[in-house]
């Protein structure tokens, strides 16, 4: 883990409305693995809000550079969206444990729930393709506008979309699409909002079918194991999402102990 000031190489808005920020940060990029994350300070020097760093999955890795995918929805990510090429961003990382690929895996189903859930899956697709594995990326979103641009994916990846309004791909929730696609795959990896995992975990059809790893998010203050803010229950006892995760086997997580970190406000 290093705390470093990274240089912004680019910061562009995608058609999906999300931003991709490329950072030059060898101290992190050369060590980081797909599924790991960084804590990003989203404020200028001397400012106090937003106080806490924002956890962001590593979206792509390229030598000494890495990319982050984020939606400019709040004060912190709004500040990030305002960073220009040549600017500086303070990052802490790499943090947590990434996805693991066991020796028997051949056909991977990578699931991104929502516009942002796709974030770690692109770096992971890059890695899996490099290892010669067959990869399907499934993204579930409300409508076609929120889809990740497919020309950014490695060419050998099969892309599947599930939309709630049927504007593109399958007209269904992402859980339905997982159930349909899982027979053709031997491992499932998912990243998305907590209710999506709870739906998957409640769907015995999916659960019993294939080993599934999920990338969790809980509210974190530190990201490196000191605050105990992100503790959840697992079959192996208490676990810190930041340090013992964020990637867990879906069967290990006690899903009642996990909450949707979004706070309702007007």
């Amino acid at each position: 883990m290093k705390q470093v000031v990274a240089r912004v190489l680019s910061n562009k808005k995608l058609s999906s409305g999300c931003y991709v920020m490329w950072l030059e940060v060898p101290e992190v990029a050369l060590m980081v693995k797909p599924g790991q994350f960084v804590m990003v300070l989203c404020r200028g020097e001397g400012q106090t809000s937003p106080l806490l760093r924002r956890p962001l999955s590593v979206h792509r890795i390229d030598g000494d550079r890495l990319a982050l995918l984020y939606a400019a929805v709040g004060q912190g990510t709004g500040w990030l969206a305002g960073r220009k090429t040549g600017g500086q961003v303070d990052v802490l990382g790499p943090l947590g444990n990434g996805f693991t690929i066991d020796a028997g895996a051949k056909k991977l189903l990578l699931v991104g729930g929502g516009a942002m859930g796709i974030a770690p899956m692109i770096a992971f697709a890059d890695e899996a393709v490099d290892k010669g594995l067959e990869v399907t990326v499934l993204q579930g979103v409300r409508n076609a506008d929120l889809l990740y641009p497919q020309d950014e994916l490695p060419s050998s990846v099969t892309f599947e979309a599930a939309t709630e309004d049927g504007s593109v791909g399958r007209k269904e929730f992402v859980t339905g699409a997982i159930a349909e696609l899982s027979p053709d795959h031997d491992r499932i990896y998912a990243c998305g909002p907590i209710p999506m995992y709870q739906a998957i975990a409640g769907n015995t059809l999916i659960l019993s079918s294939k080993p599934t790893q999920v990338c969790l998010e809980q509210m974190m203050a530190c990201g490196w194991g000191v605050c105990y803010g992100c503790t959840i229950k697992t079959q192996n006892g208490l676990a810190k999402v930041c340090q013992d995760g964020p990637v867990f086997d879906i069967n290990d997580v006690v899903w009642d102990s996990v909450v949707d970190p979004r706070i309702g406000r007007v």
Binding site: T48, Q218, M220, A221, C222, G225, V226, C227, Y228, R265
Partner: protein
């Protein structure tokens, strides 16, 4: 020093952060038994601050002594153990267990945690109860004992005086301030207990005023804590009467901050021709 609960037990942390810059590591609050702590959610971000409701998740005294203390014993940086209790006797019991444990250099008595149903803060709001726990702990150990007070006491100066009279070697001021956040969609408090403990820059002026006030009323050293995020903040606490400071929330966010604050204080001392930091302690106080 690293503030309790914001630097774990220091052992994993020492692999990630240079602890040689720290005057001491204060470990997470410990009870006799292991504890799960509170359910999620445990954190809420607030303007220039955060609320926590961790509920003192912890490994319990046996594991602390068997797994962590031996590692601390190899360090040059002293470790102070933050001790908690659901009853007055539990503090005494823990103090006895830790006496003469290699690797433990002092105790910080936590009578100020707002996130417990039993114990914690309720012992720190009444001067007599606080004094009783202090003298019990002092009698049970040969280690230096500092007592960490809560700003949620109706009269913190009386508590501070009572604890000092009961034999405390130092005071740490302050623990978190009771606060709350409500989810307007669910129409319920965000945190499971309703309330949590507020920390970070938002509480700094309050902590500073308390240090200033208490420093004029007691003769034992005060360790300032609450929102310190820079050398300037640390110097404010020292000038208000603190002999040392603890960094909590700011260190969780910026683990490199400990060294930066130490360097900043040294630079200030050079600029102002201060030979010894003790010259600054309480200098802003009207005497």
């Amino acid at each position: 020093m690293s503030a309790s609960g914001t630097f774990g037990y220091g052992v994993d942390e020492a692999q990630k952060v240079d602890i040689t810059k720290l005057g001491a590591v204060i470990c997470k609050g410990i009870f006799l038994k292991p504890r799960d702590g509170n359910p999620q959610p445990r954190l809420v971000e607030t303007p220039a601050g955060m609320l926590n409701s961790i509920g003192l998740q912890g490994v319990g005294i046996d594991k602390l002594i068997s797994d962590y203390a031996p590692v601390w014993g190899k360090w040059d940086t002293p470790v102070i153990v933050n001790i908690c209790g659901e009853s007055a006797d539990e503090y005494t019991e823990i103090a006895k267990r830790l006496d003469e444990v290699d690797g433990v250099s002092g105790l910080e008595v936590n009578i100020s945690c707002p996130n417990l149903h039993k114990g914690g803060m309720e012992f720190g709001t009444d001067p007599q109860v606080a004094a009783q726990i202090t003298s019990n702990v002092k009698a049970a150990t040969s280690l230096p004992v500092m007592v960490k007070l809560t700003p949620n006491a109706p009269d913190i100066v009386s508590v501070a005086r009572a604890v000092a009279d009961a034999g405390a070697d130092a005071l740490s001021l302050i623990n978190t301030i009771v606060g709350m956040a409500i989810d307007v969609v669910k129409q319920k408090p965000v945190l499971p207990n309703g309330i949590g403990g507020l920390s970070g820059p938002a509480i700094k002026p309050i902590a500073l005023a308390i240090v200033y006030k208490v420093a004029k009323s007691v003769d034992i050293p005060i360790i300032g804590v609450g929102g310190i995020s820079s050398a300037n903040d640390a110097l404010e606490f020292i000038l208000a009467g603190a002999s040392a400071v603890q960094i909590g929330t700011a260190g969780m966010i910026n683990p490199d901050i400990f060294g930066q604050i130490v360097n900043g204080i040294q630079t200030y001392m050079q600029k102002t021709g201060t030979a010894d930091i003790s010259e600054l302690v309480g200098k802003a106080g009207l005497r």
